[in-house]
Point group: C2
Chain length 271, copies 2
């Protein structure tokens, strides 16, 4: 792995470039992105140079797709006829089934679905952080027997991330619960208060701040995620609605199980 091309030099793409450099990667890191993002990525030292879509496709042995999901899917279709047959293409998309499905059209290059579970409230290469992935899960959808895939997994470990192998369907089911349901719940709570009890903010405590932090997110970031994980998200929403209905009659039992889950979530595991 000597030539890396980062498609989409935003927060995740630029942080990956910085993380590779910090971990000792000495190969080339090229960026394929908008002029504004290229400029920011070069200024931060996250990329060495800009390449066109086609130049990067033929030159890179690791192609890292860090656009929004719809951009990743579009890029996979464009890469299919032109990517180097020896290349590994991987991605950072927040859902995996639609992306892995799109990648099935690849004939030459090998695809490995990925999801580094890291982020922050600010966006863009300007906010990039070489430690963004440290101690965070990095989901991979497979462990292909491929020299660049082995090197890539080595670098994931070197930048401090925690590799987790999950097939695309399992990934999408788990993140529907761990990420998409909390997002929609926070948005629903904040939107309901906005409409029915805007004055409640006068008596708000830290709990309401915690509960509405995710609601700050923009739909732009969620459009593709919700569109590509609709079935799993709907199952999770339905289960939460049923639970809330039951709690209207009898909230007590859920406090013990809820506290149990919340405590375990905060308990470091051996993994």
């Amino acid at each position: 792995m000597t030539n890396v091309a980062i498609y989409g030099v935003g927060l995740i793409g630029a942080s990956f470039g910085l993380a590779l450099r910090q971990a000792g990667f000495t190969g080339e890191i090229a960026g394929v992105s908008s002029p504004r993002s290229i400029e920011a990525g070069l200024a931060r030292g996250a990329i060495d140079r800009a390449l066109s879509f086609e130049e990067a496709a033929s030159r890179a042995d690791l192609i890292f797709l860090a656009q929004p999901i719809s951009g990743i899917i579009e890029a996979l279709h464009r890469l299919a006829p032109i990517a180097s047959p020896h290349a590994l293409i991987t991605d950072a998309g927040s859902t995996k089934r639609a992306i892995c499905e799109a990648a099935s059209s690849l004939t030459g290059a090998t695809f490995l679905g990925g999801h580094p579970m890291a982020g922050k409230e600010s966006r863009g290469a300007e906010s990039a952080d070489p430690d963004l992935f440290r101690h965070r899960p990095w989901v991979l959808t497979a462990t292909p027997n491929h020299p660049v895939a082995e090197a890539f997994r080595h670098w994931i470990a070197r930048i401090g991330a925690r590799e987790i192998i999950l097939d695309a369907a399992t990934h999408d089911r788990l993140v529907a619960w761990s990420s998409h349901l909390p997002q929609l719940t926070s948005t629903a709570l904040a939107a309901t208060l906005h409409e029915l009890a805007p004055n409640a903010s006068a008596v708000a405590g830290p709990g309401l701040l915690d509960s509405t932090r995710l609601a700050l997110s923009s739909f732009d970031l969620w459009r593709d995620i919700l569109a590509t994980n609709r079935d799993e998200i709907d199952r999770a929403l339905e289960a939460l609605i049923e639970r809330l209905q039951r709690m209207r009659a009898n909230p007590e039992p859920d406090f013990a199980t809820g506290a149990d889950f919340a405590r375990k979530l905060r308990t470091p595991t051996a993994s």
Copy 2:
């Protein structure tokens, strides 16, 4: 206001004692509580001495009830025949209608409902903090024309809290939305994950931590709150459920209104 009696020397009661002292109060601060809480309150300097329920009732000109709601209601009934007629009785209960109703049986002493909106995850006088109320709302249900009430409001300002006047019904309606609904939502989310997707914690990010922090709360702390604000909480739960149902079909519009509420909540106001 020279003799304060704190009934219930837990986190809130002991923090009030420490806050008064830090703000320059030089009168006596007595505690009425369990032997263990009295010991901890004395050790922290939150109270000067222990008194029996009856001794404190006849001696204090400010009676501060900081037990759980059911303890406050029971204390009000016991205080009715014995409290000094010149005393002001106030409280720190998290709901106000049931407490104000119980206080209507008082004939001599004057009652002023209160709710200092502060707390922390740890409990007991051991966790008391003289700055617990700083910059936090302190709801009062009225502004009685009473010398001790005027002094008490002066001390609320001196300890850094932000006085908000709300009648009991308005208070209970607003906290149903700002506090009780977020609690039940967090508990429901955590309990649902516990039952249907315990493995989701393997791919959890900071969003799930935020969303399940309130779920750590024990039902012990919530039993009385839920029992004394059932109607308002049920209305809020019903509205949230309706919103979640609508979001299953079309989540987009709620992102803008939710983000708007969440941003305003984080914007300091002139008040």
